[in-house]
Subunit: 409 residues, 2 copies
């Protein structure tokens, strides 16, 4: 990327877990600590600071049984009018379904962070991830906060990304650089996955940071557009959690950049993180990427793509590498979208399976090969319009069931 170019560029700089973790954008510092929330010997609290203040956007779980910290965050986002100076995340305990005591814990944690960082409590966002229905060990957590605030520094995102992991097998991050008129800014995100290997585990959490200057309205627009095409296009088990949250913060330390390019960087980072989450899903063996075209509307295409990608029978077939394309059509048929079977065409991995209402005469060996790729690429054309969408999932495996069932409390 030539410095001094007059047009802006979104350059890929890093995608986890391969390669070194990216540096935090200017204006951000981070630290981690261990409070032995679930088990000792690993960091389970992460603090991200923006001492000069950042604009904030967030997308929270739509689950009606939402965790205490998410309820608190919603209030803080509203009362701060989209500003934030510190985010505290803990793993090991979700603080969900914990009643008044759980809410009191979330409030106390945010207050202690605010004191330690010398900011207003409403400038604090806080989330928890882990077991549902268990209270946080505040006695072990609270003493960690002031030291964490004191030692937060401008390094890579790695320590923070590791501290928020629950059953993830590796930390997840992604970054992009935007260059414009000789200056550059970065968009750096991290995430913890939807892996729910241990029982009662919940939550996907992601934080996207940038040093570009963005108003609360701008960062909100970028975040929502990015989430729509990333975290809202993946499914591992359909169980949205009590704590799911995606945060975005802009420090503005690198100045202003063309909005479209920053937005594009947000989208790319969010999509990287979403794919990392699926690939680290419990019992992951083989991916599914469903594209639906020719739908009356994009929304119809999304309904069909999501239903196919979430079908247990399709997901079992993908695991087995078995070319059971009838299951794909059957799933499409129950998506709540009016279909004309005689206009449907289905291919998998580029191999035609069904054309305009009749089975395609494709050799079995080709069909089998298409279902045995590391990601099974499903393309269903509805033959009825310009709407198109995609959805990403993975095969349902015995390992998934084992990890989620064969646990002894």
């Amino acid at each position: 990327m030539t410095a001094g170019a007059t047009h802006s560029v979104v350059a890929e700089t890093s995608t986890g877990p391969a390669g070194a973790a990216p540096l935090l954008p200017l204006g951000f510092t981070a630290s981690a600590a261990s409070a032995a929330i679930k088990k000792p010997g690993r960091n389970d609290m992460g603090l991200l600071r923006c001492p000069a203040g950042a604009t904030l956007a967030a997308v929270y779980t739509t689950n009606q049984v939402c965790a205490a910290p998410v309820q608190l965050d919603r209030r803080h986002l509203r009362e701060s009018r989209g500003h934030c100076s510190a985010i505290l995340i803990n793993s090991g305990c979700a603080n969900a379904a914990t009643g008044d005591r759980g809410m009191a814990s979330a409030v106390e944690l945010a207050d202690v962070v605010a004191n330690a960082c010398e900011i207003s409590p409403v400038a604090v966002q806080h989330n928890s991830t882990g077991v549902i229905g268990v209270q946080l060990p505040l006695d072990r957590m609270l003493p960690q906060i002031a030291p964490m605030a004191a030692r937060a520094e401008h390094g890579t995102i790695e320590e923070f990304a590791r501290a928020i992991m629950t059953t993830d097998t590796y930390p997840k991050w992604s970054s992009r650089t935007v260059e414009y008129e000789g200056r550059s800014c970065t968009v750096v995100g991290c995430a913890k996955g939807a892996g729910m290997i241990h029982p009662n585990m919940a939550t996907m959490i992601s934080i996207i940071t940038t040093d570009a200057e963005l108003t609360p309205a701008e960062i909100n627009t970028h975040l929502r557009a990015a989430v729509e095409r990333s975290f809202h296009r993946i499914s591992i088990d359909g169980d949205t959690s009590t704590n799911d949250s995606v945060f975005a913060l802009a420090s503005g330390a690198a100045g202003a950049f063309p909005s479209a390019d920053v937005g594009r960087a947000f989208k790319e980072v969010a999509r990287d993180l979403a794919l990392l989450i699926v690939r680290d899903g419990e019992g992951y063996e083989r991916g599914i990427h469903v594209q639906v075209t020719g739908a009356p509307t994009d929304s119809d295409a999304l309904s069909v793509a999501k239903t196919i990608a979430s079908s247990l029978l399709v997901r079992c077939a993908v695991t087995g590498g078995d070319p059971n394309w009838g299951r794909i059509l059957a799933a499409a048929g129950r998506a709540g979208v009016v279909l004309d079977v005689n206009r449907l065409s289905l291919s998998v991995g580029g191999v035609a399976l069904f054309r305009h209402g009749s089975p395609a005469e494709t050799p079995l060996a080709d069909r089998e090969a298409a279902f045995r790729k590391s990601t099974v690429e499903v393309h269903l054309d509805l033959g009825g319009g310009q709407g198109s969408e995609e959805f990403i999932s993975c095969g349902l495996t015995k390992a998934y069931v084992e990890l989620n069932a064969d646990y002894t409390t």
Copy 2:
């Protein structure tokens, strides 16, 4: 049941698979044959006749990719104005996603049945169950029809019930007797299950017969009420099929009976059959029975009950006998119903787990025992109204995944 009682009685007479199969109601005859559709050596065609004609009601799959015979049946039901004299069912091949040739096969089968039985083709219903995307072997099927029509006799439902099985491990039937003023009629049903052990398998099919006199409007009312509380309250994998159908036929040979009692018999028979289907579902190890009360409406209660019973994480926990009640609340929270967490109360097997927004302090041993019953009884009270509903499912098992994935074409 005392003969001559002046009030009517719905007496249980038989529920499969234990005990002898019930006799067909008066006016019906049946036969079976083997066309070696999928494999030789077993009956895979069943013919049910009502030579004097029956009133007909049917509920067909809502799947947009619906099989050729279902499309034909819809037309016949409409054109016959709810009358039927013969039903032909085959197993081993679903005749779904088979294009124009598949439709021609369904039409030809119905025509040959009509000829053999000397009735109009619109008085024939016909369905297929088995592999999707494969054509029926008409050359082997057509010659069986005239002999089947000739040898159909008034015996038990067993031979027919066995002929329509695909991966069911046992035939499914249920019957009730209604007595009124010294006379009696019977309601006798059979079903094949949703087990989709082999790939591409589809379809739940059930046929309920009675010798009570019912108009097309009456039998339609009874069937829909019965289906609503039975087949519409069970789920094994959420994949509604291309062929799902429930038929009801009334010969009238036993005369008229109080409508409410016949309706009750329909409901009981349908519920027996639905439970038999779940218990014979693929990889079945442990059942789930979810009751939701205190909802704003019955429809809200049903949404919550269905979401809980279908949640993969809840279903895995049930398989593992693990008291992960947080997953039940998390599933309830994403059912699309507005909930107040502080009014929720959850118990499993009568053991309180969550009361008005906070975890109940129940000993772990009690919680574990509740999750290790042969059927896990979940009761969630939403604390917000008079609406209540139930839903029935089963744990998700490694055997399910294995049966549906580890198949080599």
